[in-house]
C-alpha cells in the first residue's frame, strides 16, 4: 500500500519518543517546573534543525517524493484561539503528562490509562466541533 511508509514512520517516531523518555509524565512535570534541561533540549533541538529543513523546503532544495515543492500548511490566524486553546491543551498536558502523539504511544505502555486519555481527547475534539462557530478566534 502506498501509504504504508507512514506506518513505518509512526513506528520510528514512537520509538524515538519512548527512548528519549519524551512520553514520561515526569519529564513534562520537570519541564513545566523548570527543573531540567532534557525536554528543552529535545524540543529546542528539533525546532532548530527543523528550521534548517524549512529553509531548504522554501528554497526548493528539498522537494517531496513526487518532486513537488513542500509548503508547510499555514496555521489559521487568530490571537485568542491559539492562546486560549493552547492554555486548555497545556492544562491537560501538565496534569496527564501526555500531549497528542504520546497518547497513542502510551497505549503500548499503559493500555487502560491511554484509552481513558484518548476517549477524553475525542470527547474534547467533539465538544470543540460542536462549539467551533461560537468560540472567539
Amino acid at each position: 500500500m502506498k501509504n504504508s511508509k507512514f506506518l513505518v514512520l509512526g513506528v520510528f517516531f514512537a520509538i524515538v519518543l519512548s527512548k528519549t523518555q519524551a512520553i514520561s509524565w515526569y519529564r513534562f512535570y520537570e519541564m513545566f517546573k523548570f527543573q531540567s534541561f532534557h525536554m528543552y533540549g529535545i524540543i529546542g533541538g528539533a525546532v532548530v534543525i527543523s528550521m534548517v529543513f524549512m529553509q531548504l523546503f522554501k528554497r526548493g532544495i528539498i522537494k517531496d517524493i513526487h518532486g513537488n515543492k513542500i509548503h508547510p500548511k499555514q496555521k489559521k490566524k487568530g490571537i485568542i484561539s491559539p492562546l486560549l486553546g493552547g492554555t486548555f491543551f497545556g492544562l491537560g498536558w501538565g496534569i496527564s503528562g501526555a500531549c497528542a502523539a504520546p497518547i497513542f504511544v502510551i497505549f503500548g505502555f499503559k493500555l487502560i490509562p491511554a484509552l481513558l486519555l484518548l476517549v477524553g481527547a475525542l470527547l474534547g475534539a467533539f465538544l470543540y466541533g460542536l462549539l467551533s462557530k461560537k468560540l472567539p478566534n
Binding site: 506506518l7 514512520l9 513506528v11 517516531f13 514512537a14 524515538v16 519512548s18 527512548k19 523518555q21 509524565w25 515526569y26 513534562f28 513545566f32 527543573q35 531540567s36 534541561f37 533540549g41 529535545i42 533541538g45 528539533a46 527543523s50 524549512m54 528539498i62 517531496d64 513542500i70 500548511k73 496555521k75 489559521k76 490571537i79 484561539s81 491559539p82 492562546l83 486553546g85 493552547g86 492554555t87 486548555f88 491543551f89 497545556g90 491537560g92 496534569i95 503528562g97 500531549c99 497528542a100 502523539a101 497513542f104 504511544v105 502510551i106 497505549f107 503500548g108 505502555f109 490509562p113 481513558l116 477524553g120 481527547a121 475525542l122 470527547l123 474534547g124 475534539a125 467533539f126 470543540y128
Partner: protein, 185 residues
C-alpha cells in the same frame, strides 16, 4: 546493542524528531498528530451531530496509518527496547513529588499515582485521566495544533499563531504543575 537499550540523550532525540518531520513532509504531508482526534470523531459518526465533522476520513488514511504505527512503536519500545524505565531526575523534583505523596519517583515512566491500576478504577483517578484528555482534545483543536503541529512544525516555519499557542501551552502547563497537581495530591 547497548546504545539501543540505554536511554537516548536529548541531543539524539532532537535531531531524530526533526528527521521524522522531514520524512513526513518528504512523503508529501503536513507533520502533526492532533488532527487525528478529529478524524477519529468523524469515523465514529460525529458528522451526525455537527457539520464540522462531515469530512472524508479516507483522505487521512496516511495519518491513521501513522497513528497505528505510533501504537505499534510504543508496544515494541515498552516490550523490547526499554529494559529499565528509571529516569534520572533532579533531586528537587524527586523531593517535591515525594512530599506530595508520590512513591518510587522516577522508577518508571508513569507514576502509579496517576497511571496505576488501583488508581484509575477510583472516581478521582478516572476523572484525572478523562478530564486531562478532554482538555488536550478540546485545546488542541481550538488552538489548531499540538506539540508536533505548533511547537515543532509551526515554530520552525516561523508562524506567529504557533508562538502564541506555545505560550498558551506553557501557561496551562505551569498552572497544572504548580497549582493543580499540588492541590489534587
Amino acid at each position: 546493542m547497548d546504545f539501543i537499550l540505554e536511554p537516548w540523550a536529548w541531543y539524539v532525540g532532537g535531531p531524530l524528531i526533526a528527521i521524522s518531520l522531514l520524512l513526513y513532509f518528504y512523503f508529501g504531508k503536513n507533520f502533526g498528530a492532533s488532527t487525528n482526534f478529529e478524524t477519529l470523531c468523524t469515523m465514529a459518526g460525529a458528522g451526525m451531530f455537527s457539520d464540522y465533522f462531515k469530512k472524508d476520513w479516507k483522505e487521512r488514511d496516511f495519518a491513521l496509518l501513522f497513528v497505528i504505527g505510533l501504537v505499534i512503536g510504543g508496544y515494541l519500545s515498552s516490550t523490547y527496547l526499554i529494559p529499565n524505565q528509571q529516569i534520572d531526575l533532579n533531586p528537587t523534583t524527586v523531593n517535591e513529588l515525594t512530599d506530595l505523596g508520590f512513591s518510587n519517583v522516577g522508577a518508571h515512566y508513569f507514576p502509579e499515582e496517576i497511571f496505576g491500576e488501583e488508581v484509575f478504577y477510583t472516581l478521582k483517578g478516572f476523572l484525572i485521566l478523562l478530564v486531562s484528555g478532554v482538555l488536550v482534545g478540546f485545546g488542541t483543536r481550538y488552538a489548531g495544533g499540538c506539540t508536533s503541529g505548533h511547537a515543532i512544525t509551526g515554530l520552525s516555519s516561523l508562524q506567529f499563531p504557533s508562538l502564541l499557542a506555545v505560550i498558551g501551552f506553557f501557561i496551562g502547563g505551569i498552572i497544572a504543575t504548580w497549582l493543580i497537581i499540588p492541590s489534587i495530591f
